[in-house]
Every structure is written in C-alpha cells, then in structure tokens.
Symmetry: C2
Subunit: 248 residues, 2 copies
C-alpha cells in the first residue's frame, strides 16, 4: 500500500420510520451521524429516509452495504408491530431473524431488576439476524445490532447516540478531513468566478460557499476542506486574499 | 374511476449538498417538505441526501422521478462552482442546460434595481434544463425550476419554503390523511401485543407508537392515521379503551 495515499473509508445511512416521512418527527440522527463521521475521518456519502416497509428497507440497505464501507440505520427496533427493522435486515442478508440468547438473558435480568414484566413484545427487541452481534444500549438495555457492515441503531436520539458512542472505537477511521472557514461580507454572486478559479488551482481541496441572510445583510461563509492540512492552509490563504481584494 | 377509491399521490425528495453530509449544516428542508406533503394529502415515500456530485444527483433524481408522482430537490442552485444541480437535472433528463430568457430578464432587472452587478456568476442562477419552467423566488429572485415532475428548489430554508409555497397550489393533492393521537403513561413493551391486535382489526388505518423518555418517566404517544376519518375515529376509540385497561 502506498503510504502517501490517505485511506478512504465511506458510509451510508438509512433512517427508518413513517413518522419521519409524515413530518410528525423531525430526524436529528442523520445530522448527528454526519458530524461523528467527519470527526472520525469517514466520508458519509448518502442518507436515505424510508418508511416502515420491509421492501423499502431491504432495497436501501442492500444498495448501500455493497457500496460503502459502513451502513448505519436508525429506527424501527422497538417492541411494537411497526418495528420491523430486525426482520428487514435479516431479509436483506437472507438469514432468519431469531431471539439472540445473550440479548434475551441481558434483557430478562434488566427487567427483573426493575420489577417489569419481560413481555413477548419486549422479547421482540432481542430478535436479530442470525449470526449478528449486539451493540450495547446503556440507556434502556434493548441492544443495537451489527450484521456484517450494517449497524442497526434505535431511532430515539439519546439511545442512538449512546449506541454510536459504543460503535465508534471499533470503526476504522479514514484520513481526517481538515476544515478552515472565513465569513465574508459578500454575496456568492460577487465571489463566484474568482472562487471557482481558486478551486481549479487547488484540486486537492474542496472549496464551498454558504450564504446566510440575516436582517437584510448577506454573509457568505467560505469553507476549505481537505485531507492534507498544508494544502488546506495554502488554499485558505488565497481565499483570504481574494476576500480582501473584493470587499468594497 | 371508482369514486370510493381515494387518489394516491406520492412524492420523493433529494437533498443536495456536501455541507449536509459533512454535518456542517443540519438539513431542515426534508422535515418541512414532509409536513407540507402530509397537509396536502401527498405521501412522501423516500428522501435521499446526496453530495455535490453529478452522478449521485442524476442517479437519485432518475430513480425517484420514475417511481413517484412528484420529486422535490433542495440545494445546489446558487452562483458558485459547487452549485451543479441545474446541470445535473439537465443530465438526468438528457437535455442541454441553458440560460432561461425570462430568468435572465427578471434577474437583470432585479440586480439593476438594487445597483448590484449582474455578474457571470449570478447569471449561472438563470440556467435551467431546456424546456423547464421557472418557480418564483420572492426572497432573492433567482428562480427554482420545474422540469417535468421534478421541482428544483434552493437549499436556504427561507427560500425553499417560499418556493414550496409557490408550488403547492399547483400540485394535485391526494386524499388527506387524518391523524388522532393519545399520550399513554405506558411503555411500548406494555402495549405491544394488544396494540398489534388492534392494527390487525383495523387494516385501513395505520397504528404507530412513539416512546419518549423524560426525567426518568416514559410516555408513549399512540397515533392512528388513515384516509377515512370514521375508520380513524373507530380505531382510536379502541386504542383509548386499551390504554384505560392497561394503565395501572
């Protein structure tokens, strides 16, 4: 392996739930996973929101798991009839969905300790694709599931975040992406052409511009991103010079 | 056409932008479109987040536009080099991307009125797939684009919402989905089996449960949705009776 080549590690995500597509619940998990992946140096390439429909989940998971290093799913692993993610992941991998012995034992002990009945519904949350591993859930015990390169997590943000914390140290990170930014008192239309030239001159960095309108004023945040920090800094220096040149 | 059959109108959405996938910007547009579609009686079936890459945008748009009645996109229609949505939509439809005469005239007048130069970068925002129609942008003039059943909108939420307001009256609405909900002082594990039975007894409604953990207490919101309000109310009455029966 060429040591000068950074490792590229990629990820996809599937957000599952009718309540997201109806607008009843606003998804916060995709944004959280996106931030964490950037911190880990992993490129999140695609996110898909699908409903509680097995065919839709299977299609999304099977497309993304062959395309990216890792796939994360959130939602649909609770105890009720509309929680079908474990079944759908099993179908995607072509294996049976069965009660995982360790999950059953852990959850039986957890509910016993709290004096709560370990109902058949709650036992549904111990079902996993055959051969899958468990992801620890310190919040409410019912585990997440790792099936090959697919990590199945809860939809409740607090639980999803705890599961991702448990997963993160086991993921191989890519080369970290470095980022510099600058708020320019200019519109995108003022900087478009010279900014595009700078992008051409610095092909190993990614130059982005993000306008904000506030109180009638416009500010554009200019962002330089890249795996090589020296190249990011070199490009940023030229972006700063450009802004100084263009500011009236 | 059988008048007793409700009209099913579907939609997909593509959220475009590296800044969303890096976690730098949290998407708010998918949730807004989801809410508006529900109000219009249109089923939002799928959302995809992709980066500023032509192939990824083309794949998502071409898949969804053949699958659903409408497709909405947000992001990537500004004046800078990383704004490639107009080109990507043109490629998806196999047509040229050219400066739209009306958009050029409107924007030239707008910038002239503000004493701002109508730069080549700003003129990029007048580019559309050939044969496309314009979507009014009352916030900052540069228009959205309708190409067949694909509606291309800005990424800035305020502008996207204004564009969607302009589009909404032109969409054919489906049968409105009615929704009733009830907050139960129960965990999902307490209600799973009887709740699933109610779902089986009321196949023309959708029963969902959404737990919330707050200050050590658990509440589960039970939601009944459906196109026939009488059937929704009948199912909700039985859900209420179930909650009363199960509450200690």
């Amino acid at each position: 392996m060429d040591e000068t080549q950074p490792t590229i590690v990629t990820a996809g995500m599937v957000v599952i739930g009718d309540e997201i597509l109806s607008g009843r619940t606003k998804d916060a998990n995709a944004g959280h996973v996106a931030e964490r992946m950037t911190m880990l140096g992993i490129d999140l390439k695609e996110v898909r929101f699908v409903g509680d429909e097995q065919d839709a989940i299977v299609e999304a998971v099977n497309t993304l798991r062959h395309r990216y290093t890792y796939v994360f799913t959130s939602g649909g692993i609770g105890p009720t009839h509309d929680d079908i993610t474990a079944d759908a992941i099993s179908a995607a991998f072509g294996v049976a969905c069965t009660h995982h012995p360790k999950a059953m034992a852990d959850m039986a002990a957890y509910y016993k300790g709290r004096g709560v009945e370990f109902t058949e519904s709650r036992q549904r949350m111990a079902r996993t694709p055959e051969g899958a591993e468990l992801i620890d859930n310190p919040v409410s015990r019912a585990p997440g599931i790792r099936t090959g390169n697919v990590y199945t997590m809860a939809g409740v943000p607090k639980i999803m975040q705890a599961m991702l914390d448990a997963i993160a140290p086991t993921l191989k990170g890519g080369a970290k992406i470095h980022s510099r930014h600058l708020d320019a008192p200019l519109g995108e239309g003022d900087i478009g052409a010279p900014f595009a030239q700078l992008q051409e001159m610095h092909p190993e960095t990614m130059l982005g511009s993000y306008p904000r309108f506030e109180g009638g004023n416009i500010t554009t945040q200019l962002v330089v991103r890249g795996r090589d920090i020296a190249k990011v800094d070199a490009a940023m220096a030229e972006v700063e010079a450009m802004v100084e040149r263009l500011t009236p």
